[in-house]
């Protein structure tokens, strides 16, 4: 009986901790949103620094992954389509898959692994080495100083990197379509644009599918930064605690990306 009681108590503690963490993450996002309007002028330098961190360092990986994802998609889908005599439809499928789902998700995964984990490690290290306590002692709002610039930078850079990744994916798909499936570049491009703008577009000069993908990417960016910062700020217990925080941040980001990603798609494309 004692063992059952202990187990239930432990699960209860875990549940309470999860709910507390979720609440902390949401409150961090809301505070950052408020502070964005209040402190934007004072945080311009930090936001620019973070834009460089979030945008420049993962760019090569996003480019390579984008290009090869497009090539891989073209190869796999192209083989099936050519069996049905529909090779020319390859660009329709690549465009839709990349801009709607794969592009934002792929970029978010890369950013979680490269930038999100670094954010959790950086803030976690600051927490365990008392740097955050020192900031609080100087009456510095740590959400405004550390978290808000990171969330803003990720919300801006994720759609930008997604767009670049998707364009390179389409180029990669075009290369495979041309060399392996004998689809001419003109036909590939025409079908690609047609697939991306199937309905009249109210959002702007670009195809609607691109906007919906980019909105999704922006939400993913905010999500990755908020979860990573929240997890880093809660780190405790020295180097082991920082390691645990990084692992936890990456796992939470992946789970939330899948779950939130589904609901965003459901809202846009149902």
């Amino acid at each position: 009986m004692a063992t059952l009681k202990d187990t239930l108590e432990a699960r209860g503690r875990d549940l309470r901790e999860s709910v507390t963490n979720a609440g902390f993450t949401v409150s961090l996002l809301l505070q950052s949103l408020r502070l964005f309007f209040v402190d934007l002028r004072h945080r311009r330098r930090f936001i620019l620094d973070q834009l460089a961190v979030c945008g420049i360092s993962p760019l090569p990986v996003v480019c390579v992954v984008g290009l090869f994802t497009g090539m891989l998609l073209a190869l796999q889908i192209g083989m099936e389509l050519s069996r049905l005599g529909q090779s020319e439809a390859i660009s329709n499928m690549i465009g839709l898959i990349l801009f709607r789902e794969m592009g934002p998700f792929m970029t978010a995964m890369i950013l979680t692994a490269s930038v999100g984990s670094a954010m959790a490690a950086e803030l976690g290290t600051m927490r365990v080495s008392e740097e955050i306590d020192a900031l609080e002692c100087m009456s510095i709002n740590t959400t405004s100083f550390l978290v808000m610039p990171r969330i803003v930078a990720m919300t801006i850079m994720t759609p930008l990197l997604t767009f670049i990744g998707c364009i390179l994916g389409c180029v990669g798909g075009g290369l495979v379509a041309n060399t392996q499936l004998s689809v001419s570049p003109a036909v590939y491009t025409r079908n690609l644009l047609a697939s991306l703008q199937a309905e009249p577009n109210q959002l702007g000069p670009l195809p609607e599918e691109i906007y919906t993908g980019l909105i999704k990417a922006a939400i993913f960016g905010a999500l990755i930064a908020t979860i990573s910062c929240a997890t880093g700020l809660k780190a405790s217990g020295g180097a082991i605690g920082v390691g645990r925080a990084v692992r936890s941040a990456v796992v939470r980001c992946f789970l939330m990306l899948i779950i939130i990603g589904y609901y965003i798609s459901w809202i846009f494309f149902r």
Binding site: D49, D133, A134, E136, M138, I140, F145
Partner: protein, 250 residues
């Protein structure tokens, strides 16, 4: 004035503070001695509201830190500065930017005024030549001095020093202890120093107490403290590992 009144704090089963009472008045330098890991730093963290006690009260200039609003806490933190053991400089800012941080964040002074105060503070600690270096590019002693410059630039009424000589070589430790003495002699600032360094304690203190099993024993001037007959104090001063528990049992 800083006053701790019957402060208790536990972490799980470990009772770290058992009814700590102390009072720190203007111009005084109070040193709390004690072995590492006995909760000396916990006492300091309570004063600036980084930790909340399980029971008891902490007053800073009449403000009860344990029930202070955010604005009151901000006032307390502008009056009481904390020098962390590691310096706790922000790693991605230069020494100069670190020192400017408290003033820049208060947003009360112009850039020129901030620059002037930062230069002054760095100059007073002979840190001007390292002003543009990053914290990772300077030695432990310089980091401590940079952290002290950051503390002084805000002109606080009280400074809490957390193990200021920990991890420093004897020469640098003596330099830091001279710095603390200089800082204290230049005004009516209060200081609370927690340390296990006897040389530092006797060189800067106006009163000394020993933190033992969650309580403060014998808060007295250095000369009186040195002559104390209390077995725990005797054992600590003589460097005995059992801290006079035999004497207490007898």
């Amino acid at each position: 004035m800083i006053r701790l009144q019957d402060v208790h704090k536990s972490f799980g089963d470990t009772h770290v503070l058992r009814g700590v009472n102390l009072e720190l008045t203007q111009g005084e330098t109070l040193v709390i001695l004690g072995r590492s890991g006995t909760g000396k730093s916990v006492t300091l963290k309570h004063i600036v509201g980084l930790m909340k006690p399980d029971s008891g009260h902490i007053f800073v200039d009449g403000i009860d830190v344990t029930s202070a609003s955010n604005e009151q806490l901000q006032t307390v933190r502008q009056r009481v500065a904390y020098l962390f053991q590691t310096g706790a400089l922000v790693n991605w800012l230069s020494v100069r930017d670190n020192v400017a941080l408290p003033l820049a964040e208060q947003r009360k002074l112009s850039s020129a005024e901030i620059r002037e105060r930062v230069e002054e503070s760095l100059q007073s600690l002979s840190m001007l030549e390292a002003a543009d270096r990053m914290p990772s590019q300077i030695s432990g002693g310089m980091r401590k001095r940079a952290a002290l410059a950051r503390v002084l630039v805000a002109q606080p009424k009280a400074i809490l020093y957390d193990e200021p000589t920990a991890g420093l070589d004897p020469v640098m430790a003596r330099t830091v202890s001279h710095l603390i003495r200089d800082v204290q002699s230049s005004g009516d600032r209060m200081a609370l120093v927690v340390t296990h360094d006897l040389e530092l304690a006797f060189s800067v203190a106006t009163r000394i107490g020993l933190h033992y099993k969650g309580e403060l024993i014998e808060l007295a001037p250095p000369d009186v403290f040195k002559q104390s007959k209390h077995p725990v104090i005797r054992a600590f001063l003589d460097g005995q590992s059992d801290l006079g528990e035999e004497g207490l049992n007898q």
